[in-house]
Symmetry: none
Subunit: 194 residues, 4 copies
DNA sequence: CATGAATGAGCTTTCATTCAT
DNA sequence: CATGAATGAAAGCTCATTCAT
């Protein structure tokens, strides 16, 4: 059974995210994960049920932060479109705060989908609230009604995350303002000039 | 050294895509890949340099088809926005034609990024031509100028692929028309009502 | 990286020498080596970098013992010829002490030559000191001067080892006295200047 | 069943000896053997029963030549010691004629011992006639009587071969005259009763 | 005669994982 | 709590070998 993870261990273990993002979980030995976390392999197993549980923990930390941020944005004042803007805003902030974990997740969506806890958290932290927000926007007239709001939420998640990840890995961290504008242009404002 | 793959073997090997998409490449035994391809494990290794080379081949087939389709759409008549619509159109067609390979790629972006040939093909088949198309649109005035067209191309690729994959796995194939409308609404037409 | 081998494991592993001498290293499964050593295959790999490292270790133990013995004989009292006699003496003792390892080495000289550590130890433990001894003998007049003392040392090593190995495998251990006489007759008396 | 090997194939296959001497038979792929022989892998199997049969053939050619040469030397005129000198002479000639095969044999004595045909040929071509020659020498008084003439023959074989091989690999071919003198000094003069 | 294509049969090696201390 | 030592369980990969052509 997995013990509750001490904050220090949890923080140390987040450092493994980059390793995993670069080599894949299967390409990363549990010894290497333990090593970057500054603990022994056996200690890793003392706190986690296995390699995959470590990754699940990393993803959970990320998605919990994302969920909190999105919730705050969605619950804030303003019409739906204004709140959607704020969602993209905080989403990018989260990627900037947890760049390694975000990369790890982005680059191994299949694994994430296979982890029930993560699958659920993705839904709860982003897909569900954004779907609702889309519907709110259809109601208050600030967002064009989408026939498939959940699919829209997924596409928005993908577009934003992809742009954020690629921007940080290509141009270096810090240029997320450019990404924000790009997402606004591409998605929110619409590309159409008409 | 990798031998040239006979067409029949190539086609058979594509059937392994689903297996790999579901379990990950590392979770899939080379024996299972050989099995669904109807050949022996040793024969698999006779034609491919390893498990990963099989996946690379699957991705390459997909991306070659995508590249051809995108090229056709981009080279066709019409203004940039009209051609961009057609790009999304053929993109979805390709996902519908190679649903398994598309899922495998979508769910293991990290692996794809680590395969030089695939990384290159992604660029050449989609990122490069769509970036150019964005710039063409800025010139002919049919697409809002993007400050980072390459990032925009990546985001569009991600949004479209994600939506298509999710649509086909959730609702079953056939509903890609709905995805098309969604992408048009979400991205191309813009969500903004102003 | 190879861990330092515990004495007990080291001793147990020496028992694999016969197996390897009879079947060749490639004809011997690592599982069999582990088995005669009384450890699991994985434990074998925990301490050794591979099958060949086990053989290298076996050879190293033998050559270290030979080196010590030869050193003792060479450093002892007496003129060069007397000390050469003692060298052959202790050499045969070593073969009698490690008959399996000696056979394994004798029957796979190619492998031994390909193992850098072993190649070096052969030189250091026998070729070098005996070459020097030959030269000492030329100086003190008790050994006929050899134009190529190193080659002579190699030939003496080969003759002695071959005779010892063949004697023990044909006639059974215990008849090394006969070998000693034979080597004295065949080689040493020939070298004698008296 | 092994077909009779055409002279050309036989000659070509001798070229594999060096490969095998350097890497060991197990370290040499049958494809590599076929390659240096200028034939296809399947053709190799058309003429030989397997990799080991190729090596057996190489050794057989060498030992047949050695046997003929030794026979000629032993059957020639002169007393036993004179004929023994000639044996060493022709022995070195054979090593000079088949340096690769000689190295391959020298470096894989275990394999040679495991090949019944080769074991037998070693006896017949060298051990037996030289043992007899030692006894002839004891009779005609030109060679010091050996208590174990067979062991002596083996030791002489080992000493001569080792010196010849090492001389050719270290100093380059051509210096076998030096080896000859060395062997004469080291061994034969010692045996001489004069 | 000669060989390209295909594979059966293993074996080495690797780790994730466990547990006594 | 923490870990060094040990291993069970796999699986990727290799190659000698076969055979239809």
């Amino acid at each position: 059974m997995m013990r509750s993870v001490p904050p220090e261990i949890s923080a140390n273990v987040m450092r493994a995210a980059d390793l995993i993002a670069d080599q894949g979980l299967d390409g990363t030995k549990s010894e290497d994960i333990a090593s970057v976390a500054g603990i022994s392999k056996a200690t890793l197993y003392y706190y986690f049920d296995g390699k995959e549980a470590v990754l699940s923990h990393i993803f959970a930390v990320l998605l919990d932060a994302l969920g909190d941020a999105v919730q705050g944005a969605v619950d804030g004042p303003g019409n739906a479109m204004e709140r959607l803007h704020r969602v993209v805003d905080v989403h990018l902030d989260i990627v900037a705060t947890y760049p390694k974990a975000a990369r790890a997740l982005h680059f191994d969506l299949g694994r994430a989908a296979r982890l029930p806890e993560i699958d659920e958290k993705t839904r709860a932290s982003y897909i569900d609230p954004i779907s609702s927000l889309f519907e709110d926007g259809a109601t208050d007239g600030t967002i064009r009604p989408l026939r498939q709001p959940r699919l829209g939420a997924m596409a928005l998640l993908a577009a934003t995350t992809t742009a954020a990840i690629m921007a940080t890995s290509i141009d270096g961290i810090g240029d997320l303002d450019g990404v924000k504008e790009m997402i606004f242009e591409l998605v929110l404002d619409g590309l159409s000039t008409t």
